[in-house]
Symmetry: C4
Subunit: 201 residues, 4 copies
Amino acid sequence: MSESSEKSRIEAFSDGVFAIAITLLVLELKVPQADDPKTLWQEILRLWPSLVALTLSFGSILVMWMNHHNMFRMIDKVSRSMMFANGFLLFTVIIIPFPTALLAEYLRSEARQPAVVVFCASSVLNNVGFNLLWNSMLKPVYLVKPEFKRDSILRLTRSVRGGLIVYTIAALVAIWSPIMALIINFSLWVLWISMSLRERF
Amino acid sequence: MSESSEKSRIEAFSDGVFAIAITLLVLELKVPQADDPKTLWQEILRLWPSLVALTLSFGSILVMWMNHHNMFRMIDKVSRSMMFANGFLLFTVIIIPFPTALLAEYLRSEARQPAVVVFCASSVLNNVGFNLLWNSMLKPVYLVKPEFKRDSILRLTRSVRGGLIVYTIAALVAIWSPIMALIINFSLWVLWISMSLRERF
Amino acid sequence: MSESSEKSRIEAFSDGVFAIAITLLVLELKVPQADDPKTLWQEILRLWPSLVALTLSFGSILVMWMNHHNMFRMIDKVSRSMMFANGFLLFTVIIIPFPTALLAEYLRSEARQPAVVVFCASSVLNNVGFNLLWNSMLKPVYLVKPEFKRDSILRLTRSVRGGLIVYTIAALVAIWSPIMALIINFSLWVLWISMSLRERF
Amino acid sequence: MSESSEKSRIEAFSDGVFAIAITLLVLELKVPQADDPKTLWQEILRLWPSLVALTLSFGSILVMWMNHHNMFRMIDKVSRSMMFANGFLLFTVIIIPFPTALLAEYLRSEARQPAVVVFCASSVLNNVGFNLLWNSMLKPVYLVKPEFKRDSILRLTRSVRGGLIVYTIAALVAIWSPIMALIINFSLWVLWISMSLRERF
C-alpha cells in the first residue's frame, strides 16, 4: 500500500512534466497583425512551421508518455536509482520541443543539416533515457510485478535496445544525409504506432 | 484494480494538459505602462480583447473538460486505441487558446472573416476528437461499465454526432457570414449549459 | 467509490490550475544584462517589484488553495452546478497574478489608484467565487458529509459571506483612498493566517 | 482514509508546482535565426548558457522533489502549520530557475560575484524551507508514522540542519570567493547523490 502510493507519486510528477512539455509549443502560436481578410489569411498560413512543430512535438511526447505508462504499469515498487533514471528521462522529454521547433523552422532551408542532427541527437538522448529507466527497473532492485513473465521482459528489453541502435544510426546518417535520417526516424514511428494499435491490452 | 489505476493515470495526464491549456491566455495579460491614473485606466481598458479571449477560452475548455470527465466516468478499462484518441482530443484542446485569441482580436475589425473561420474550424476539430474518443470507448474493445444501459450510450452517441454536424455547418456558414456562424456556435453553448444544469447526477 | 473518484478528479484538475497560477509570475524574473558586479547588483535590485508581486501572488493563491482544500474535504459527492461554480472560482484564481503585478508596479507611483482598485476588485471576484462554490455544495444537492454538523456549516457560511462584505467595502474605499483599502486587505490576511495557525485539524 | 486523501492532495498540488518549476527554463531555448549550416551551428552553440542553466535547475529541483517525497512518505497526517511550511518551501523551489539562469549567464563574466551570491542565497532559502517543513512535521502535531523510529527521525533532523549550516557558509564565502562557494555547493550535491544511490529503500 505504501509502496503503491510511492509509485503513484512518481507517476503524478512525471505526468505533470509530460503535460507541460507536450503543450509548450502552443506558446509559439502568436496572433498575427493584419488589416484585411486577405493579409490575415496569409499571416495565418505563415504560422505553418509552428503548427508542424507543435504537431510533431505533441505526437512524439504522446508516444513517450505511452511508453512511460507502459513501463510503469509493469512495476509495483520504486527504488532510488529508478527515481534518478526517471528524472533523466523526463529531462530528455522536456527538451523535445526545442529540436522539433528547430527542425520545423529549417526543414525547407539551406541550413537544414544542423537542425536534423540536433533533432536526431535528441531522439538518441531520449532513447538512452528509456534504456536507463528500464535497466533501473530490473536492477539493483527488481521492481517488476511477478505476473510479468521472462519473455515479456525480454521483449521489452529487446525493443528499447533496438530503438536506441536505430536512432543512433539515424543520428549518424543525419550528418551526411539529413533527409535519409528523417525517413528512418519517421518509419520507426509509423512502425511503432501500427504495432501498438494491433495490440489490445 | 490495476485497470482502474491505468485509467486514473490517463485522467491525471489529461487533467494536467487541460489545466495548462485553460490558463494559457493569462500570459497575454501584461502590465501596461502609464504615468498617471487616467492613462493607466485607459491602458487597462485596452486589454479588453485579451480578457474576452481569456474568458471565452477558459469557458470553452472548462466545458470540454466536463465532457471529457463525463465520458471517462462511464468506463473502467483502457485500450491502446482509446489512448491515441484521447491524445488527439487533447491536441485539439491545447490549440483552442490560439483561435479564441484570434477571434477576440479581429471580431470588431474588417479582417473578421479568417478569424471566425479558424475559430469554427477548431471547434469542428475538437468535435472530431470527441467523436473519435467516444468511438474508441465502444470498439474495438468495449470499455463502458455494464451499469450504463443501451439508451444512455445511444443518447451520448447521438449528442456527439449531432454536435459535430452543427459545428461543421457553422464552420461552412462562417465562410460567407461570420456573424451568423458565431450565433450558431454560442446558441449551442447556451443550450448545452442550460441542459447540463438541469441534469442532477 | 465512484463518487469519490469523481471528486478526486475535480480536485486534481483544480490543483493543476492552482499550481500553474501560483508559479506564473516567476516568468517575470528575467536575467538582467550587466558588465560589472556593481551594475549587476543594481539591476538585480531593480527586480524588486517583480519579486514583491511574485511573493504576494504566491501567498494569496496559496491561501485560496487552502480554502479550496478546506471546502472540498467537507464533501464526498459532486454535482453539475458545483462543477460550474468550481470552474468560475478557478477563473478568478488564474487572473490573480495580473492585478498583483499591477499593484506591485504602481504602488509607489502617482498612478496608484487604478492598480489598487483593480487589485481589490479581483479580491471581490474571488470571494464571489468562493461564495458560489460553497452555495453549490449546499444546494440544489446537499454534498456535505453527514459528519459535519450544522454549526460548522454555519460558521463556514458566515466566514465566506463576511469575507465578501469586507472585500467589497475595501474595493469601494480604494476608489477614494487606495492606501486605506490596502490596509483593510492585509489586515484580513493577517487575521486569517493567525486564526488558521491556531486551529489544529 | 480521509487523512490520507488530505495528504495526497497536498502531494498532488506540490507535484504540480515542482513539475512547472522544473520545466520553466525550457522557455529560454529559442530557435535561433541563420541562413547557412555553419551559422546555424554557431547559433546553436551560443545557447550553451541556457542549456547549462536548464540542466542545473532541472537537477537541483529534481533533488528537491526527491527530498520532499522522502519527507512526505514518513507522515500519514496533515496539519495547518505543515501546509504553510510546505507552501513556503514551494515558494523557494519556484524561484530556483532565476538564480540558476543568472549563474549560468555570469559564470564566465567579470560580473560573477552577484550571480554566485544570489545563487547561494537561494540555496540557503530552500534549506530554510526544508527545515521549516521538517519542523512542522514534528510539532505542534507529530505527523510521522509510528513505524519510523527515533534514530531515523534524528538522522533526518541532523541532515536538514547540517545542510542549512553548510549552505549558509557557502553563501557567506560567496561574497569574497565566488568560485570557492560553488565548489562547496557542488561537493554537497555529489556527496548527496552518491549517498542516495547507496541507499536502497
